[in-house]
């Protein structure tokens, strides 16, 4: 795969998962607030589980995609230093994909965490009684 494409995939892996979690976190909180709030419920009549299930599912999917990108890039750039290593051969002049390798490794870890958060959010959503005061 070309270096440019790897670079793009690396950013996808690093950013998309984070973005997906951020959006679903805020959206999910907003939905539960809207539904479990007298006024909100009266205005929107939306079924909390349906909405929460959808947004959380979509977000989980995005995180998985990001993770796949990250793993691919990590695998394609294996054998390179992360950059904390000693100066590389021919470092002057042409550049080696150490940065891509570094960020893809980071992305593999971070997406795993984001995925776990979303899983727990799904469990918490459907393991509890909707709109019961905690």
């Amino acid at each position: 795969m070309k270096l440019e494409r790897l670079a793009v995939l690396q950013w996808v892996g690093l950013l998309v998962g984070a973005l997906a979690w951020t959006s679903v976190h805020l959206a999910g909180i907003g939905i539960s607030q809207a539904e479990c709030n007298a006024t909100g419920a009266a205005r929107w009549h939306m079924s909390n589980p349906a909405w929460e299930g959808t947004v959380l599912g979509v977000a989980a999917l995005c995180v998985v995609i990001a993770e796949v990108c990250a793993v691919t890039v990590f695998w394609r750039t294996r054998g390179f230093e992360f950059g904390d290593g000693p100066p590389e051969e021919g470092f002057e002049g042409e550049r080696k994909p150490t940065r891509i390798h570094f960020f893809s490794a980071a992305a593999v870890a971070s997406n795993a965490i984001f995925f776990m958060i979303i899983v727990l959010e799904i469990v918490g959503q459907f393991g509890n009684i909707a709109c019961r005061q905690s």
Partner: protein, 338 residues
């Protein structure tokens, strides 16, 4: 969750001070001396979490001690040596292991235990009590009856009670550690928890959210009575105040109704119907005054009437400059209100 008795025996050894928590003498607000199923679950949850936590701490300390010993055994190393081992440990012990443990904790705590501690369903209990936080005392009402009291809540033992909490001014927080978790009294909202006591007795509670100058003096008692005793108590609380036969107490009533007392306090069955201070209809049945600040006896009561600001600085009751015999009369009257 099952109460792990083994833990109670050997976990304290890991935490020096924690021993004292268990062998307590006069601990009236001990979260870990549960007297209801809700607080029992919370306490057990804590014991398990603490046990695992000590192991985590021990592991990290062991690693550091090992590093220190190793450096002494064979100093010097090749800079990138053991990088793979480092990565493996970080991924295993730093990512996989904690994720599993904490996910399990999340499921236990926020799926199962929370079912017990969250608000009871509207129709789950036969009885409801409404508690209103004031700066700095608690107003207690029994919906469906005329009973109103302050700072001393009576409930029937081994009977789930729905307790609804609201506030008349700032945010307060209702908390009886031995019976259940904390619940805030939020403006414009009515929160609820279940109040349940395994055993007959007196349980101490306190305002848990900073609510101003006298946040420190906003305690209350929950009395779990046998059902018959409770019913008798409630029936008595419903009655209007008894009118004194005469003598000093009658003068006291006179003084109460004519002075500014009546504009702040309610005494059912009289013209006094203020809402600033506690309802005094049956004040003599309470064991304490000023939200557990002082005992309810003649000396403290008269001291309170004469100079409440010295007892509880900043409280809402002004010092009204009454003559000595007027105070005597008031005390005699109030002591008769049982």
């Amino acid at each position: 969750m099952t109460p792990p008795l083994r833990f109670r025996r050997w976990l304290p050894l890991l935490g020096l001070g924690v021993v004292l928590v268990l062998t307590g003498c006069d601990r009236q607000q001990d979260t870990l001396a549960p007297k209801s199923h809700a607080s029992t679950d919370i306490a057990n949850l804590f014991w398990w979490m603490m046990g695992v936590s000590w192991f985590g701490l021990a592991l990290v300390v062991a690693l550091m001690i090992f590093a220190w010993r190793k450096a002494h055994r064979r100093p010097g190393h090749e800079v990138k040596e053991g990088e793979q081992l480092g990565f493996r440990v970080v991924i295993g012990a730093g990512i996989v292991f904690p994720i599993v443990l904490i996910a399990a904790l999340f499921v236990i705590g926020d799926i199962f235990v929370i079912k017990v501690t969250q608000a009871p369903a509207k129709d789950a209990t036969r009885m409801t009590i409404v508690v209103t936080g004031h700066q700095w005392w608690w107003e207690v009402r029994y919906p469906g009856t005329t009973a109103v009291t302050a700072n001393e809540i009576h409930i029937p033992v081994r009977t789930p009670v729905r307790l609804e909490v609201k506030t008349a001014d700032v945010i307060h927080s209702f908390w009886v550690p031995e019976l259940n978790r904390t619940i805030d009294a939020m403006p414009g909202k009515r929160n609820a928890i279940e109040l349940y006591a395994d055993a007959v007795g007196r349980y101490r509670g306190q305002c848990d959210e900073f609510c101003g100058l006298q946040h420190a003096h906003m305690g209350f008692y929950v009395y779990a009575d046998p059902p018959t005793v409770f019913r008798r108590w409630l029936a008595n609380q419903e009655k209007p105040a008894r009118t004194p036969g005469g003598g000093l107490a009658a003068q006291g009533k006179q003084a109460f109704m004519t002075s500014s007392c009546a504009s702040c306090h309610t005494i059912r069955g009289t013209s006094a119907s203020g809402y600033v201070g506690p309802d005094l209809t049956h004040v003599a049945t309470r064991s304490t005054l000023a939200a557990l600040t002082i005992p309810n006896d003649r000396r403290d009561l008269s001291h309170w009437i004469v100079d409440s600001q010295a007892v509880k600085p900043g409280n809402q009751m002004p010092n009204m400059h009454l003559s000595g015999d007027k105070v005597k009369a008031l005390v005699a009257y109030l002591e008769g209100l049982n």
